[in-house]
Symmetry: C5
Subunit: 350 residues, 5 copies
């Protein structure tokens, strides 16, 4: 929207970095209109509306991968508006050798396209690599059976990272969809093989025993499968978060039950003491009980109080023990075991 | 249903706002039958049965997008029944400049269709923009690890907004499906290019190097991808709600466990005090214990009561500490770490 | 199964209600075999095996929609076995006007088919209308933040209604699938246009500018989209139940936490009182403490007991307050806020 | 694997039960190789590798449905290895009448195939019928709002049955997939019509006005839809289990909250009693308070203790009441109600 | 990446194990370039980029299944880089007999491909066999209704195994997808039949009545269905884990409710004792109550205290009993029962 609707008088400019097959790199500014004329493109071809797109137009491949906007021609690769996007390191150090490498004899556009798609895959991989260890670490510490209560600042970080993971999953899906759209239509794959249509001499030279369209399909499919693998990893990580949360809940619940039993046992003790303490309170009243003069009564009543409390408590505890262990039909386990073998047999038939 | 089945004698009328390519806007009322005759449409073409539809009929594009009903012809755009629908602002301020803009040389129906579809996308976006910050704010405050209990009025608002989000997701899906239905059939796309069939002169003029059907496909695809992006955002938001709810539950459970441990520790203290208080109660009885005359006994027994309580409590607390920390096999963590590296290696192979 | 495998000697009969295009309605009984002969159908065509089916056979459309079994011919509509199915109201009051209405000039089978499909859609809609307000009412009262415990009889009703909702979803899916099967095969749509094949005169008359097959497709598609909308509503309702359940759980948990804190605060108080009460118990012992004669000691000790209890309790309460509020890194919120803006920007690019 | 890789010297034998169209049944043993030669099949055709398969080979239909292995030829049906599989009842009582019935004039292979597929459907139905009432019964008793704690032996049985249900769902899916694979390829359907290719005379006789391939498709589709219906039922049952579990949790949580409130109320009482009891304890000390002689003081203090406890308790209880009922904005309900109407209107438009 | 980008000067070598149809096995080292030349392959064909791939190139089948890299030619099977991969046992003991077996007359590449795919299936099966019994055992012990708190070290092991299960599911999915990609394109299946294109003599000899492509499809389909079955098993196991977790939660919650009721009952007892103990405390005060001299008063008050406590406690207990059993409408159960029958009837119609 911004590139397209400038205030009148402001001419839209692109800052362009140009790479040619010989490894020369030049940087210059150019008006959008001039660039269009030069490449025989139309203004709307350079709108870069969608965050991820890959199209062939008039013997150019126009690519946008989030912050990276590029045009591939048979003779050069133009990277547009590259400043302040965190692309510098890649543009200066990694891209040039990839563009000039001679490991395969395919024309320039293949090397350029591969470098850009690989950059995208690496970006996604880097995001996953950033999120994954943090999540694993936090889960590791949260499912620790020793903890009584989850560390809540860790939960906060987990939440943020699982949000990032969701966004990453969307990114991977969008990237996969854009590749799939091309892989599903042989026509578009053909259009991406620029040299085939522009430079018959180079084409014939390079295509000894090689079908350009097939090579292009392989290149795209390769990236697709890498993205698929990333997607699988992200999904597994999501599953792990879900499973871990269940385990955390069971852990917390178990702790609570253990504490509750302890608490209940002590409540039983307190109750016993209150019950028999009442006898002491009774004898402590300023009322005449006619036992006042006999020394043995003191020891008798005191002993009764302590012993009674102890006995009642013991009975309550053993009642609790019985109460929490209902009788269940014991022959249940074998059913599962048998199923297990049946399914083994089933799966191993051939 | 209402437009279609009038009580006999009541003639169905449309309030129509007409936009022509020169930017003239006129408003008038017209009988449904007259309108049909004028545009050579049949009555059933103007039933607007479904809340979202986009069809081409006899060189007109008939559109309904919830409250917006419109007919696009090669010469004008008619908006029907526009009153009281909240469309006024858009009709008066935003639509006219879009219809008269000359940024691309495509015929009128393209500008009209783009404006309407963009209006729909903006409406969806606006709904999301309304719901998203509320949900994020509420989640932000609900997952706050400091809170002991969730603010229940916030939960109510969250519930309402996640209901709105569900409805928005349905709306986006319906919109995407209606676009997809057209994108899947090249025939319908061709039909949407009205000028191609009605005005060969304008068509030839405008189509220098431009394929109208391809332009139409681009226009629709563009809207489709915007809707897709909105759908992705809505889905991510739903995921975030789910994840946050898990975190809220863990938070609440953790709080409870912490409080339970404190409560248990105090129950232990109370138990100890009751136990040794029983001694005091015993000596408080109006029974002769033969120690009454000795002053040291008072201090002895008092000291024993307090010290005993303290010691028992300490033992109970340390018992609790041990009880809640079961011994676990320590070599478990490395498994995950190793997996992590393996998956790194796997994903980074090429 | 019952219609098909009669005990020998029992001739299968149909009770038939016949509607002709002029609005005449007759009711009669007829043997299955005679009916087959009359319509040149085979016995197996009238088995009505599946609860939802719509097929064209030898210039008849044979329909079953749960309890409604019907045969449409170009000249009449036969409804079979209509008694005791709750169809009477519809058959007597609603169906005849729909069959004789002249709003469109299409032949009889279109009106008959539309009436039947619309009946099915209305039935589904009625089921949803029955279930939806009950569920909304119950959820409304269950998510009420004021309630401490869910009303369990309401839960029971909710469970029954969500079971009904599941069944309704299945019904809608089956109906949609049966329509989709037809919409996917142009051949079957052609077969459904009975008049086109049987009555060329009427066909030509009625088909001025109208393609029968296209009309039939529109009719079916219209029903399909209505069913789709119902399905969307049912799904949203299911989502709402799920979301509400989460809110109910958070509500209940929050209540519990609040009560637990109160309980803990009181336990602290009781503990403090027990602790300092022990002093009183000590002085209550019938043992000589040598302070007995001094009046000030009484006030001193009593005051110490109450003040001490109060002070200890206060310290415990403030300890609890600190304990439940762990220190968290404050710069967390901005992350979300920033993300929000980023996604806004992303979605609003064009 | 076992049938295929015999130890050398052991000749694989089949125990065969043969049904011919006239209703004759013979049982005999035959070497696998002989059987192959007789039917002009290859050894690998009779491997029966997969638990569910249905293939046509050289004018035979080879079927395996779990324990049932069968070969259908135009002249007979061979059931292999039928002993000890629980098939006896069906083979002796149900199969023969189905094979000789003359309800339709289609050739033998149709009757045989229909009988076998119907047997499979009935088996699946029987499994569902076995599991469904048990699950419903258990759920019925578990969601009973009166129960305080779930009966854990019932939970165990529920778990086993929901495991069986999962397995049943897989079985249904596998059966549906194997039918769908055939329904998707007209060629295979043609191959299944054995008589068409082997016995032109019978074919022509039987095919008066009947297209064999179409009949075969109907037969398979019929079974497919029955399996679909079973699958729907199983899925609904799974949903019901999930919904019931939510209700069980809400029930248990509600019970707990109610108990907690009671417990809290009693804790408040105990606290009040402890607080004012401290006064009594104070006066019980063997210390001089100078009030000893005045009788009214006894009643005053005693009354103060009881009244004070009561008053404090009442204040605490009313505090609890207020504490648990936070003030919420009341205009929330209308939103839902309004939505309800809106969605009604939406769905009922036409 | 490593095989492809060696440091200059380091020639990439393969350690190759060669199997020929006669059963001869030789092991040697060979440069990658030489191997390519020998087999007329290109360097990029031997990159083995993806963890699972199966492609035909220039009359060779190039396979990678995780650690197993192999090339199948019509004359031999080459296994590359086999050391340290845990393949030795299979390579030495199992593979040779499978390659030389003469059970079917198909050419060598079929036997080689079948052996490799079967190895992959067996590997997946082995992984499932390793994980399944552990998970079943742990679940068995965790859902044990007698346990009060889940054994947390078992939960940890469960978590690890369900992580392994997720990874296994991904592996199965990737394997299935790679087979499906081939099964969907008849061209690739044709290419996999190497002998058909290279050795017409052998081809004609072996193909008496056998279509090679069809055999290849059968072979791949067979593996696909085995993988499908494994996938089904893994999914069922995942479902079982989920269901078991629900049961564990219900178990823990039930235990807690039972303990809570016990605790509440004791709290009631303690409250009653405190209430009536207050009377004793009152009479224990050193204040004159004028009852001091009467012996009967002692017994009266003591009896009142104990009896009163007991009575109040009983009332509280019966109040609790009533409180936890709300009155519910009894006619609810029949609804389900009726539904059950209806669905029976529905499913059993034909």
């Amino acid at each position: 929207r911004m590139t397209e609707a400038p205030l009148s008088g402001v001419v839209p400019m692109f800052v362009v970095m140009k790479f040619d097959p010989e490894g020369n790199v030049t940087t210059f500014e150019k008006k959008k209109t001039e660039l269009c004329q030069e490449l025989s493109l139309q203004a709307r071809d350079l709108r870069f509306q969608h965050s991820t797109s890959l199209t062939a137009r008039n013997n150019c491949i126009i690519i946008r991968m989030e912050s990276l906007k590029a045009i591939v021609t048979p003779q050069c690769l133009l990277v547009l508006d590259f400043r302040g996007m965190g692309l510098e390191r890649w543009l200066v150090l990694e891209l040039p050798p990839q563009l000039t490498s001679q490991t395969h004899s395919l024309p320039f556009e293949f090397r350029a396209l591969e470098a850009i798609l690989q950059y995208k895959v690496n970006t996604l991989q880097a995001k996953l690599n950033e999120v994954e260890p943090i999540i694993l670490d936090i889960l590791e510490s949260l499912v620790d059976p020793k903890i009584l209560s989850a560390d809540r600042s860790k939960l906060h970080i987990l939440l943020q990272n699982s949000k990032s993971l969701s966004e990453l999953e969307t990114d991977i899906k969008v990237f996969k969809d854009s590749l799939l759209k091309i892989l599903d239509e042989d026509e578009i794959i053909e259009e991406l093989c620029l040299t085939k249509w522009t430079d018959p001499r180079v084409f014939e030279e390079s295509s000894l025993g090689i079908d350009h369209a097939e090579e292009m399909e392989l290149l795209l499919e390769n990236c697709y499968m890498q993205a698929e693998e990333l997607g699988n990893n992200a999904r597994e990580l999501k599953d792990l978060i879900d499973d871990s949360e269940s385990v955390i809940f069971i852990n917390l619940d178990s702790h609570r039950n253990v504490m509750m039993r302890l608490s209940l046992q002590l409540t039983m003790g307190t109750f016993s003491l209150s019950l028999f303490g009442l006898i002491g309170v009774a004898f402590g009243m300023n009322l005449e009980s006619s036992f006042e003069e006999d020394t043995r009564v003191f020891w008798l009543v005191t002993g009764f109080m302590f012993l009674g409390s102890g006995l009642i408590w013991r009975r309550l505890l053993s009642f609790l023990g019985r109460h929490l262990e209902p009788s269940v039909p014991p022959p249940i386990p074998p059913v599962w075991k048998r199923n297990l073998k049946a399914s083994d047999a089933k799966a191993g038939i051939r």
